[in-house]
Amino acid sequence: MEKLISPLPRAAARSVATHRPVLAVAQLHKSYTIAGERQEVVRGVSFSVEPGECYGLLGPNGAGKTTTLRLCLGLTDPDAGAITLRDLPVPRSAREARRRVGVVPQMDNLDPDFTVTENLLVYGRYYGLTDAFIRARIPQLLEFAGLGSRADARIQTLSGGMKRRLTLARALVNDPEVIFMDEPTTGLDPQARHLIWDRLKTLLAEGRTILLTTHFMDEAERLCSRLAILDTGRIIAEGSPRQLIERHIEPQVVEVFGDGVTSWAQAHGHRLARRMERTGETVFCYAADASGLLRSLETQPGLRYLHRHANLEDVFLKLTGRELRDS
C-alpha cells in the first residue's frame, strides 16, 4: 500500500531535476468509424508537458481535445504514435502511470449514491489507498474545495460549482503529480469559475503539473504557461499565450458595428487596417497602430466601436475560422 506524504513527491522531484517531461506525446494518430465512414480525429499530434507547468489544449468542438486526453490516460489505444506519462509507456503501463494522475472529467460523474465524504473515501480506495490514509486526508481536501461544512451532504444538494470543486478534490485524493482537466469550468457562473482558477493556481504553486483542455480563451490566457491550438485533429499553433498573440495577430483590434459599417469598411477600413474580418454585423479591424482607424471612426456618428488589445480569442478565431462548429 502506498503512503503519500509530501505534496511534491519524489518521482516529480526527479523529473524536475532531469527536466524530463511529465507527459510526452509524439505523432499521435487515432481514427474512428462514424456512420460507416472512417474519420481521423487525431492526426499527428505531438507535444510535451514539463513538470510544474499548466499546458493547455485549445480547440473548437470536435478538434480532438478529449480524444487526445483519453489517449494520454491509456483509456483508448492510438492507431500510431508514442505516449510517455510519468516516464511510463502508455497504453502498455497506463494503469501504473495513472496511480499518480488526477482526472477532472468534462461531465460530472460524482457518485450520486454517496455523500461528499463517501465520494472521496470510495474514490481513494480505487487507488489502493487505505481507509485510514484517505480519512486523514479528507479534511484537507474538503477545505481546499471549500466544502468543509458539507462533509455529509448528499451530492444532489450541491450546486454546480460545489460539484465541480468536489470533482477537483476527488482528483487530488491520490496526491497526483499531474492533473488532467477536461473543460473544468464549462457551465459554471463567473464566481465559481474564479474560485476554480484560484485553486488551480494553488496546485501549480505546489509544483503540480496540469494538462487542461478548454475553449475559454480567458481561462487559457490566465492559467496556461504554454498551449497548443488544435483544429481538426492537428496542432496548428503552439507557444505561450503572449507568444501566440505576438506571432499570429496584430496588437490592436477595433470592433466596428452599426448602420453604414459596410460602406465605411470599404471606403476607410480597408485602407486604415492591416487586416479586416467580418462576422455578421461586426467588422474586426486589426492594426499595429489603431490611431488612424479611431480618427476616422470619430467622424462617423452612426457607427459604434470598441478598441482593445488583441487577445488569444483573436488568434484562435484567425487560425480556426469563424464558422460555427456544431459537432
Binding site: 489505444d77 460523474n109 463517501e118 480505487y126
Partner: protein, 260 residues
C-alpha cells in the same frame, strides 16, 4: 482498444469497486433484505399451499417442496439478472460511475469482474433468503441442503455473465425487456421451476436440457430433498460454461463500447 478479443486480465483492483457497490447496498440493506424474503415468500406460500392443495405429489414430494427448490433457482437467476442489467447499466451509462473509476488505476476488465461478482453477491443473498424460508417451513430434509449454498453462486455466475453481455449491448433500459420476454421468462417455464420438465413436449425438453436454469434445478432439488444429485459435474460444468462465455462476451463488448 486495438485487441478487444484478448482474454480478460483481471486483478485484485476489482475489490474496491465491489466494495463501492456493497456500500451503496448497505445504505438500503433493510428494505433490500425484506424484499429478498417477502417477495418469494408470498410466491411460495401462495402457489405452494394454494396450488399445492389441488395437486398430487410431484416426483414423490409435496408441491411446496418442489416449488421451494425451483424458487431458490428462480430467485437467484432473477436477482443476478436484475443487478447485472439495470443496476450495472445505471452505473456504466447513466451515472458514468465506471468512467470515473477507470480514471483511477482500475481497468475495464476489473470493473466488469467487480460487477459480475457483485451480481453474484446479490443473487446469493436472494437464494439464501429462500433457503432460510424453506428451512423455517420445515421443507429442508437434511444437512445435505447446505451444499445449495455452493450451488447458488454458480447459478449467479451463469446469469450475471449472460446479463452483463446484454448490458454491454443496451442503448437504454427498454432493451432489457426483450431479454426478459425472450430469455428469462421462457427459461422460468422450461427449466423445472414450477413443474417438472417431463411435462413439456419432446422438442421443448431437448431445448430445456441445454438451458442453464435446468441444470440449476437439477442440482438444487435433490439437495433440498436430502439426496445427492445425478451428474453433478455435468451440471456444474454447464453453469460454469455459461458464466465463462457470458463474461467473456461481456468484456469484449464492453471494450468495444467504452474503450474506443
Amino acid at each position: 482498444m486495438s485487441r478487444p478479443y484478448v482474454l480478460p486480465a483481471c486483478s485484485l483492483r476489482f475489490v474496491p469497486v465491489w466494495r463501492r457497490n456493497f456500500l451503496v447496498w448497505q445504505k438500503l440493506a433493510i428494505p433490500s433484505i425484506l424484499g429478498n424474503f417477502a417477495d418469494p415468500l408470498i410466491y411460495m406460500l401462495g402457489l405452494g399451499y394454494g396450488l399445492g392443495r389441488l395437486l398430487p405429489e410431484i416426483d414423490g414430494m409435496p408441491y411446496i417442496v418442489f416449488l421451494a427448490a425451483g424458487t431458490v433457482c428462480f430467485s437467484t437467476m432473477n436477482a443476478a439478472t436484475f443487478e447485472a442489467l439495470y443496476s450495472a447499466f445505471s452505473r456504466m451509462h447513466v451515472q458514468r460511475t465506471w468512467e470515473a473509476i477507470m480514471n483511477a488505476p482500475v481497468t475495464l476488465d476489473d470493473v466488469a469482474l467487480a460487477e459480475l461478482l457483485w451480481a453474484v453477491t446479490k443473487s446469493f443473498l436472494s437464494g439464501l433468503a429462500i433457503l432460510i424460508v424453506a428451512w423455517a417451513l420445515g421443507l429442508v430434509a437434511s444437512p445435505l441442503a447446505l451444499w445449495i449454498l455452493a450451488v447458488i453462486p454458480l447459478i449467479g455466475l451463469a446469469f450475471a455473465g449472460l446479463a452483463l453481455a446484454i448490458t454491454a449491448l443496451a442503448r437504454g433500459y427498454d432493451f432489457f425487456m426483450y431479454y426478459f420476454t425472450l430469455v428469462v421468462t421462457p427459461m422460468a417455464m422450461l427449466c423445472g421451476v414450477f413443474f417438472p420438465t417431463e411435462q413439456l413436449p419432446p422438442a421443448l425438453q431437448a431445448l430445456s436440457a441445454v438451458l442453464p436454469l435446468t441444470h440449476a434445478t437439477q442440482l438444487v432439488r435433490p439437495l433440498l430433498l436430502g439426496t445427492v444429485p445425478d451428474d453433478v459435474l455435468v451440471h456444474v460444468a454447464v453453469l460454469l460454461a455459461y458464466a465463462a462465455v457470458g463474461f467473456y462476451a461481456a468484456v469484449v463488448l464492453f471494450r468495444r463500447r467504452l474503450l474506443k
